[in-house]
Amino acid sequence: MDALRRTLLKGAGATGAIAAAMAAGVLKPSQVLAAEYNRAAFEAKDVAGALKNIGAGGATDNTGIVIKAPDIAENGAVVPVDVSSNIPNTVSLAVLVDKNPSPLSSAFDFANGALPEMALRLKMGQTSLVEVVAKTADGKFYKAKKEVKVTVGGCGG
């Protein structure tokens, strides 16, 4: 079944759906999000600075934020990180990697009741804390963390 799905996707690419998506990608994020792009937050050099710039300096810990990420990354260049929020009325999620040069990796808004779930591929040069901040409709901020270890590999068992 998965083989069929792959074939279909390849077919979709050939018939233009993926080509169209790529064309859309030609637009730079700064142009797409010109109105809302939080330059100061994305360019902050530390977690505290990024949090401050998205207004989440006082975020409180909450276990309703679910971070699914490997304990040890298989490849630090593409670490799969799945994030979701069970906190009612979550309207945005931001993901930070504390050891990255610019810790804020992404911030998404979920409008009109869209489910606050996303799957990301993040780059990490070293063992880091992945921190997720959720914002609810009433303007409150919550956070959760998970460590992802990045290792040089080899020498196993």
Partner: protein, 570 residues
């Protein structure tokens, strides 16, 4: 039964007289013949061996005298060695079990009791256990298709056929994957079809997360539905070359494991057993987080633990076992299941003494035929070892020291690194080292030896990184290998410290290693794609042939800080 003092006196007398005692006589004096009298218990029986590392022939295998546990693992199984292990598990000092489970008096006791394992002896034991336990399942925890010359040369085929002949029902894997994804799929889909189930709930495709193998099976055993779940070594793509399995992702995956357990229970499984290649420390943590698993039959860390660890969790309790390595042990786990509930269990980790178990004729014939074309090459005598050679130990082993010494000389290096593999058989003092023995230490699909210029800073980073894989306080962040073996330079190690601070006082010829200075470092088994170099067995066999007689090696071990009273050191 004799006591330890009497036993040692007999050994000393035998040694002085220049002959080895007949093991049958000695074992009889100790009640050793009763070792395999294991009456049937209950109605669900699982037989388990793991990490045999392709050892088809009987071998010697010395258990470690250093198996350090740090933090929550300190002082608990499997991090107990020598007398501390005997005491914790009430094993009689000087007994045949004491020899099986510890390094104590190893060389002398090994001469007396003889070799362990060997598939034809294992086959006899399995047949006996099956005869007394109708319906029993034979589980193979993996690391079966790698570890010997013949497994390497046949791309695992000798072990695939041996496993089928032995009657393995279900297996999972780790080093199997270093034959490459295509070869693994070929074996599972063709050789194993309808015979052996290869299970792994934690191996998925990198693109869509589709399962690569079946996660579990349910088998009826004497009217009881029994679920077996497979868990492959979670960190294969990190500890071994990623390019061998480029499209597969692994990891521990607790949540997925819980889903599989719940699903199996939902389908009526009354017993749920995890066939795991996590390593024992990871198994212990997983048992505390996932509920509904009755027993974890584990491997990877090669721990021969005489009794199960009982772990409490939200759903009740889970038994955690680890069945040693190299064909030296078979676990026998019996459950009495009535009215859908476990009424009781019995567990025994049986050592496989080749002299006490006659060879199974069919298996012996298969092995002889398979080896015949390779015999001359396998039996080439490279040198004689004056000292005991072994590998296991958290920091170094004399076999690894030999490899390091050979690399330093042949490669003209200042410093040498050798991976902390836990497989590899032992050589007794006075024994000849054959090419086969050397391949027991080195037979991998990426055997390249290297000589690299490294800065002091890089050397420190590598040592810290590997050390964290052993001593990170969170078992989920460990990889289950031992510390990289280091030749040429000295260092101190504080296992309790955090990453970045464990490795201290690095010195070469007494002078501190400088962060910005460059050093010539020899190594082998690089995990990066495109690596090349002379196979390590060529480097070492050259050195051995040249030496002819190898003097006892002087172990280069770090000065350990803060572990004086740790029961993981003897």
């Amino acid at each position: 039964m004799m006591n330890r003092r009497e036993f040692l006196q007999i050994l000393a007398a035998a040694s002085a007289a220049g002959f080895a005692l007949d093991s049958r006589t000695l074992l009889a004096a100790q009640g050793g013949e009763k070792l395999y009298d294991l009456p049937r218990f209950g109605n669900v029986s699982l037989l388990h061996f793991t990490d045999c590392h392709a050892q088809l022939m009987p071998i010697y295998f010395r258990e470690p005298n250093v198996n350090l546990g740090i933090g929550g693992a300190q002082g608990k199984a499997p991090h107990l060695v020598g007398e501390r292990l005997l005491k914790a598990f009430k094993v009689k000092p000087g007994s045949v079990e004491a020899h099986a489970f510890t390094h104590l008096d190893f060389a002398q006791a090994a001469k007396t009791y003889g070799k362990v394992g060997g598939f034809s002896h294992l086959a006899t034991l399995i047949k006996r256990l099956r005869a007394s336990r109708p319906g029993a399942l034979l589980l193979d925890g993996g690391d079966t298709w790698q570890g010997s010359a013949t497994a390497l040369w046949s791309k695992g085929q000798d072990m695939v056929d041996a496993g089928k002949l032995l009657g393995v029902d279900i297996m999972t894997g780790h080093w199997e994957f270093t034959l490459g994804a295509e070869r693994v799929k070929e074996i599972v889909e063709k050789d194993f079809a309808g015979k052996i189930e290869f299970l792994a709930q934690n191996v998925k495709t990198t693109d869509f997360g589709d399962p690569v193998f079946k996660p579990y099976v349910i088998r009826q055993m004497n009217g009881v539905p029994v679920a077996i779940i497979g868990q492959a070594f979670p960190y294969t793509p990190i500890a071994n070359p990623r390019y061998m399995v480029p499209d597969w992702t692994m990891g521990i995956q607790d949540e997925e494991m819980q889903k599989v357990v719940t699903e199996a229970r939902g389908k009526g499984a009354q017993i749920v057993v995890l066939l795991s290649h996590n390593g024992m420390d990871v198994d212990l943590k997983m048992a505390s987080r996932v509920s509904g698993i009755d027993a974890i039959l584990g491997g990877h860390t090669h721990d021969g633990v005489p009794a199960p660890s009982v772990v409490k969790n939200a759903g009740g309790r889970t038994l955690v076992m680890n069945s040693g390595s190299n064909g030296k042990f078979v676990s026998v786990l019996d459950f009495d299941v009535r009215g859908g509930k476990i009424q009781g269990f019995r567990y025994k980790l049986l050592p496989v003494f080749s002299n006490l178990l006659p060879a199974d004729r069919e298996m012996a014939a298969y092995i002889e035929k398979m080896r015949a074309p390779h015999q001359a090459r396998l039996e080439e005598k490279l040198a004689v070892s004056e000292g005991l050679l072994y590998r296991r130990g958290s920091f170094n082993g004399s076999w690894d020291q030999l490899i390091l010494d050979a690399m330093l000389e042949v490669k003209g290096a200042q410093i040498a690194f050798s991976p902390g593999f836990r497989w590899g058989t032992s050589i007794l003092p006075g024994q000849a080292i054959t090419f086969e023995h050397l391949l027991d230490q080195t037979a991998i699909t990426y055997p390249y030896s290297t000589l690299t210029d490294m800065s002091g800073e890089t050397i420190k980073m590598i040592l810290e990184d590997v050390c964290d894989n052993l001593f990170n306080p969170d078992p989920y962040k460990q990889q289950g290998g031992d510390m990289v073996r280091v030749g040429g330079m000295s260092y101190a190690c504080d296992p309790h410290a955090a990453i970045g601070s464990r490795i201290q006082d690095m010195r070469l010829d007494g002078k501190p290693i400088e962060a910005n200075k460059t050093y010539k470092v020899a190594g082998w088994a690089p995990v990066a794609e495109g690596a090349s170099g002379e196979p390590i067995w060529d480097v070492v066999s050259k050195w051995l042939r040249d030496k002819k007689v190898v003097t006892p090696r002087k172990l280069n071990e770090p000065k350990l800080l803060g572990v004086a009273n740790n029961p993981g050191i003897a």
